[in-house]
């Protein structure tokens, strides 16, 4: 596309997938991301693609599993309760080592929950969700532009690791309109000898079996892959952490709000920084342990639109070197920069006020 246009987050992510060469979408409607399948339904036929509205999220993810086995780029999207139904297929795809992309536009709370922006699926996303101790790569954008860039990256990583990749967004990002530039990111050729494309003796490769069954060597290979991902795929944004007394830990929309709070606090002479994990798995533990080791740093403050989920990983990273405070918004309200400012000022007061 190459120029900036104004787009809604969910539609922009759909277009980014198309620009990344995704021609197959299987999904089931659910608020607050139904604009994504709607966009795909309108757009895919015109580019020779296939949109299919499945009878359930369960069927949708298994259709994605079927298409992924042919090595074509394929995706689905949903929101929290729908993603719960997809866990079976994601676990199977992790075991069968299939490249596929799932976008979760999170809604709030357990059960049916509600459609306000939320981050209550962090545990589900980062701790497996389905059975069997697998990992998914998890990307978390903080703007519509970044969401588009990460969609392209998600397809690339899915193929590099033959691995489900999850993009974890929220309703704020999916519903908001922002100017975006969506770049073409066509698939790069890679070895697809593993894929099911029809076989006969002497066709130059071994017979493909897309197989989610445990077999000798699989677990070791998966663990090796997860170690490689953990080493090579950590992505994190650090803002003003060098001299910070307080470092905010936040991801997605919350991190964006936190940036405004940091500006206000710095204006008041309070040195505050931000560590924003872009990959939630692998988590940037090292960024936190490095920041924790700095003399200037008094404590960390973790902000989330949840009752406190990522904070557990923050504490793992900090490793007890410094205190980690937490504040969550989970009663259907959204954070404001001023609330963050007030929280940090109160914390500073409690910790003995200004310090040289």
């Amino acid at each position: 596309m190459g120029k900036k246009i104004l787009m809604k987050g969910s539609e922009a992510m759909a277009e980014a997938a198309i620009q990344a060469g995704c021609r197959l979408y299987f999904g089931y409607p659910i608020t607050p991301q139904s604009e994504l399948p709607e966009y795909m339904a309108a757009r895919l036929p015109g580019v020779g693609g296939t949109f299919l509205q499945a009878e359930s999220e369960l069927a949708a993810i298994n259709m994605v599993y079927g298409a992924a086995g042919t090595a074509h780029r394929v995706m689905t999207s949903s929101s929290s309760p729908g993603v719960s139904l997809m866990q079976e297929g994601i676990s199977y795809a992790a075991a069968a080592e299939l490249p596929l992309v799932v976008i979760n536009v999170m809604r709030a709370g357990p059960g049916l929950g509600t459609i306000v922006p939320s981050q209550t699926d962090y545990f589900q996303a980062t701790r497996g969700g389905g059975n069997g101790g697998y990992r998914t790569l998890i990307l978390s954008p903080a703007s519509v532009q970044e969401a588009c860039d990460l969609v392209a990256l998600a397809f690339e990583l899915a193929e590099r690791y033959r691995q489900p990749v999850l993009l974890l967004g929220d309703a704020m990002m999916a519903q908001m309109m922002e100017p975006v530039e969506i770049k073409e990111a066509p698939p790069k050729p890679y070895d697809i000898a593993w894929a099911a494309r029809g076989w006969k003796p002497d066709c130059g490769r071994a017979r493909a079996v897309i197989n989610p069954r445990s077999k000798p060597g699989l677990e070791a290979r998966l663990q090796e892959k997860y170690r490689r991902m953990a080493k090579e795929e950590v992505r994190v944004e650090e803002v003003d952490t060098e001299d910070a007394e307080y470092v905010i830990a936040a991801y997605g929309t919350v991190a964006r709000i936190a940036k405004n709070a940091i500006k206000t606090l710095r204006g008041m002479g309070v040195r505050v920084g931000l560590i924003r994990p872009i990959t939630l798995y692998p988590f940037p533990y090292e960024a936190f342990s490095r920041a924790a080791a700095r003399e200037t740093l008094r404590s960390f403050v973790d902000f989330e639109i949840s009752e406190g989920q990522m904070v557990e990983d923050v504490r793992l990273g900090v490793g007890g070197q410094k205190p980690v405070a937490f504040h969550g918004w989970y009663d259907l309200e959204l954070p404001t920069p001023q609330q963050m400012v007030d929280f940090i000022l109160a914390l500073r007061q409690k910790e003995g006020g200004e310090r040289q």
Partner: protein, 249 residues
């Protein structure tokens, strides 16, 4: 007429199926049909969870194993990704008629251009003889130790009849393997179902009434008699849908 030969669309690996089970015959009929139709290199099979979950060891094809009951959804994804491929699912009655009832119905409702081979032996085989939706009234199973009682367990489902109500079903036939004539008829049905897919028609399925001597607690001979005396009367053989019948005469 060429002399009999073993089809190379089967790998030749020895079947793990129990003595008297008809999975082996069904595998062979499907493999022979694939060879005869000249579609070996473009056929992809989707295996189930159940007794046939090792079928990828036997079919000499690119294969998938699907989650329990989801084979029609997996087949849908594979077929939509590569429409020129011939995609079939191979499913038992626990897989297809219980946990996968949603997926099979909607594949038929959409007229998905795939073929399903449905092996109905009125019981869960691999898990050890539990009740299936197809278990007959009065039939004993490990989870229906006093026999299936319609009052609390409902009635056995007739899948061909159910799917026939969907406009998207193109060809549905129920066959059995109890006599040579029936086996020849089953082979014809398998060929026809695959041919319809080659022609780009809608959803096709062959239901094969099958035996499970192990879980029925019968000898292979007794099992075949039970199939004839008990199963066929409740699950009548025949064509339940053939939208191409007039063109194919």
């Amino acid at each position: 007429m060429s002399a009999f030969h073993k089809t190379p669309v089967l790998t030749g690996a020895p079947f793990h199926y129990c003595p008297g089970c008809t999975h082996g015959i069904i595998h062979r009929l499907i493999a022979e049909a694939i060879e005869e139709l000249g579609i070996w290199e473009r056929t992809i099979g989707i295996g189930p969870v159940g007794c046939a979950c090792y079928c990828y060891d036997y079919f000499n094809l690119d294969m998938y194993i699907a989650a329990h009951g989801r084979a029609p959804a997996v087949a849908t994804g594979a077929k939509r990704a590569d429409p020129e491929k011939i995609v079939f699912t191979y499913q038992g009655d626990g897989d297809l008629a219980a946990i996968g009832a949603g997926e099979i119905n909607h594949a038929a409702i959409r007229g998905e251009k795939i073929t399903t081979f449905f092996v109905n032996n009125a019981i869960f085989g691999m898990t050890g003889g539990q009740m299936a939706p197809t278990t007959l009234i009065g039939q004993k199973a490990t989870t229906a130790p006093y026999g299936r009682d319609s009052e609390t367990m409902g009635w056995p489902v007739r899948v061909c009849e159910m799917l026939a109500t969907h406009e998207g079903s193109y060809y549905l036939e129920r066959v059995a393997l109890d006599t040579t004539a029936h086996i020849r008829g089953a082979k014809k049905a398998v060929v026809k179902a695959l041919r319809y897919q080659m022609e780009g028609k809608g959803f096709s399925m062959v239901e094969v009434l099958s035996t499970c001597p192990t879980n029925w607690g019968k000898s292979p001979g007794e099992a075949m008699e039970w199939l004839q005396n008990e199963m066929i009367p409740y699950y009548p053989l025949g064509v339940y849908k053939d939208k191409g019948a007039t063109e194919n005469v």
